[in-house]
Every structure is written in C-alpha cells, then in structure tokens.
Symmetry: C2
Subunit: 265 residues, 2 copies
C-alpha cells in the first residue's frame, strides 16, 4: 500500500476544516513522494531531522517551523547565516519532507495540542471546559506547589517557574499551551473562569507573572506556573504520533524525543 | 529647596531629547506636587508601592507600567479585576505619583538600562560597541559556562537558562536587555557582529534558543543565555537611583530591591 505525503497531509488537515489563513504547509518535499516513515516533533531541530533521515523516515511533521520564527519569511533575513544554510542544505540533500502542523491541530475539537497535555497529565477526567485558547480543569482542592510537583513528575521536567504564592490553595486551573501565556490571554481567566491558577507554556515575564506576584501580596490565591513552550506542546505531538500510527498502520511512525532547549545552570 | 514631580521628570527626560511616540508619562499623581522622596524600580509592584508609601516617599519611577502590560490600555480590559482595583485604589489613596520611564532611558546615550547591566557586571571595560538595541563586549576567551557563573555571581541570580553548548568558547558577546531576546534581534548579531554568545533578558523560547541548539548540533560555538527580563533591567534602574541621588542631593532616593518574580520549583 502506497501512501504519499499528500495522503498524510489530508489526514492531518481534515479534522480542522478549511482555514482561511495559516502558517501550516509543506515547507520542504514533494507532495507526491511515497512516505517511508513519519516523525512527529514539536520542533524540527537539526538533531530530529538527522535522526529521522538516519532511520529512513522521510516525513517530519513539526509544530513549529525549522528556522527559528513563527514566520517563514524570517529565513530570508538570515539567508547567509551558516546555521540556517547548513540546516536547509541538510534537508534538501536528505530529501526530507517537512510539514508544519500548527494552526490545524490547534483547531481540532478539542485542540489537539491541549488535548495531548491533558492526557499526559491524566487530567482529561478533570476537564470542565475547552475554550479556543484554554482548557479549564477543576479538581479536588490542593496547593499550587502540589500541582507544580505533579507537572514535573508527569511531564518529566527538572524545574518549573512559579509566580504567586506556591502555598496558595487551588482547585480550578486554566491551561494555556505554547505562547498563550501572555497577560491578555491569561489574566482575564481569573475573573471570567474563576481559575485559581494558570499553567502555561511561556509568556512575557512582566505580564501574568507580575499579576500573580501582586495578587499574592494582596493575599489572593491567584498563581501562574510556566512549564516551557516545548514542554507544554510536545505531548500534543506525541499524541498525534499515536493517532497517525493507528491511521497508517503499515508505516513506521514515531515521535521525536524532546530534549529541553535550555540547561538550567 | 522645593522639588516638584515636574522637576524630576524634566531631569529624567532631558538626556533623551523629545520622543515622537512613547509609553512614558506620569501615570498617577500631580506634576506640581512636592517630592518627598524618590523610589526607582524595574516594576512598580504592589510591595514596592506599599514600601515607598510607608517610607514617606511619594514618587515612584518605574521602567514598566503597574498593570501587567506594556500597553496602558490593557487596564481597561480588566477594569473589574480585584487585583487591578486594589492596586489602583492603593495608589490613589496613598497619593503616590508614578512616572513610567521606559523609552527615554533606553534612548540615553548609551542606553541607561544596558549601561546599568554592564556596570553591574563590571563589563564597561570590555564594551566595544553600543548599538541601539544591543551592547557588544569583547573579552579574554572563556566558555559560556564560565560566563553563566559570572552572571549569577555578579547579579545574585539563583539560576540562568543556557541554550547551545555550555562548554563552547566565547569571546565576543551581545547583550540585549529586557524583551529584546527575540530571534529577529538576536540571531543576526551572530553574523553582523560576530558574537559567540547572546545574553538577554527574555524572548520566545523557540526562536534564538532553538537557533543555539541547532548551532551546537552543527558543532558551532553560538549560544544564548537568558537571565530574566527584570534581572536584566533592574541594574539600570539601580544606576538611575544613584544618578538621581546626585542630581537631587536634598531628597531621599533609593532603588527598590528586586525580588525574583518566579520561584524555581
């Protein structure tokens, strides 16, 4: 049974319907090429691409683009950069296909990236709402510190960043994956959704975290935990790999292990 | 000798000249009020405001605004939020004047915030260029890890985030304070300024840090250290306090101690 890149793209995009505007697309490769294997990844890092190629898997499905920006046009501004050029040349020489799956998977119902995080945390049982940019969970009363420990254990994280009072009680939590941790997304949820805690990937440090700091000073139980952009979205790409393995059982499919982009020194 | 809020603002803005567009301004208070004391701070956090008031100091000069966004209009979207309301009411009842000094101090020559960071690191002796958004320093050859240790020691930081190979050599360094650590600012400096290392406050995790990760995979000595937004800019406000103390020797002037907005758990 022959599966083309185009077949896989159809399976990836279908659940989201037609998007008017999107950064998603086949960035490299031939849509009519036969797929020899699929690797999913949050980030199509140099290592991920090399390992896919070495394993004879020629389609990489990545949540972010390969060239260090949400916007593909950024690559034009670093056209002479040796890191960019070596990565691009490797992709071309290896004949890899890279499909960026960002907007579509966020438009799955529920959001495929948030869904993966909830599943990795075993929190689907706590989910009470799924807003476009946030999942709301409600659980037995606990503390921010206990939740931080649970996040580290379940997601295998060495450390998380906590703003606000770590010993404050929490019961209702808003999850905002990726770069949705900015103040304009996060802060209103304390009111509209009565959350006690925001868990997010990343966001400007002087927005929601400073809000949580002031809330703590005022004696209010409103806190923010930032777990990292990749850390919050990689589980969604891992879940996607399992779904693709079920949809294309004759193809090798795996998720690229995520290594932290930062060392904490 | 009577000093008004207006007098202090004139001293703060004069070195930058007239700016066409700015977020800077007197957010609270009467420009003709007599100043009883000046507190400088990266962030006019609830604690900073309470301590200024308790000390009888009625003018706070802060780099960021009090309401969790670069844009003052954000406050209108959280008009019913209890944290916002309690903070605003405290400011009004205390009769505090708050002047936001963001754009002007960045336009000092050299940038007053970057200058403060260089001074805190004792790196002014290494400075070779001062670009609008970055200071370039050149020093004896060392490693990224050694620089990370120096940053922690000199700035009193418990941890920094390092992307790329920590054991890579480095000699030329670009410093980007605050939120300037995005890929579009940081990545071109590896080429145009031949830096080996970018030290920044914060920036999107999947831009410059992922570039450094790929560079390391390719065996290139290009790394990124993120020290934190407040951590990178607070030294500039501390330097400002010393300058104001010299300019207004009859007034009590102090810089509010910076406490980290995050706990690392």
């Amino acid at each position: 049974m022959r599966t083309t890149v185009r077949d896989v793209i159809a399976a990836l995009t279908e659940p989201a319907g037609k998007l008017e505007q999107t950064v998603d697309g086949l960035l490299f490769g031939d849509p009519d090429a036969e797929v020899t294997g699929i690797v999913t990844a949050f980030m199509p890092a140099q290592r991920v691409l090399e390992e896919a190629h070495a394993a004879g898997m020629n389609l990489v499905i990545a949540h972010e683009g390969p060239f260090f920006s949400h916007h593909a046009a950024f690559a034009e501004t670093i056209a002479d950069d040796p890191v960019y050029r070596a990565k691009r040349d490797f992709i071309l020489e290896a004949g890899l296909a890279i499909y960026r799956l960002h907007d579509h998977i966020h438009r799955y119902s529920p959001d495929g990236i948030a869904d993966g995080l909830l599943e990795a945390l075993d929190w689907n049982r706590f989910r009470v709402r799924h807003l476009p940019a946030a999942a709301i969970v409600e659980r037995e009363a606990t503390t921010v510190r206990t939740v931080a420990g649970e996040l580290k254990e379940r997601l295998g994280l060495p450390v998380v960043r906590v703003a606000g009072n770590p010993d404050a009680p929490c019961r209702r939590i808003g999850l905002l994956v990726g770069h949705r941790g900015g103040g304009a997304n996060a802060i209103p949820l304390f009111g509209s959704e009565r959350v006690d805690l925001i868990i997010c990937g990343e966001g400007p440090e002087w927005e929601a975290p400073e809000y949580a700091r002031d809330a703590a000073r005022q004696g209010r139980a409103r806190a923010v935990i930032m777990i990292g952009h990749a850390e919050s979205e990689a589980p969604g790409m891992r879940l996607l790999a399992r779904r693709l393995a079920a949809a294309f059982p004759h193809l090798p499919v795996r998720n690229a292990d995520e290594e932290p982009v930062f060392a904490w020194i």
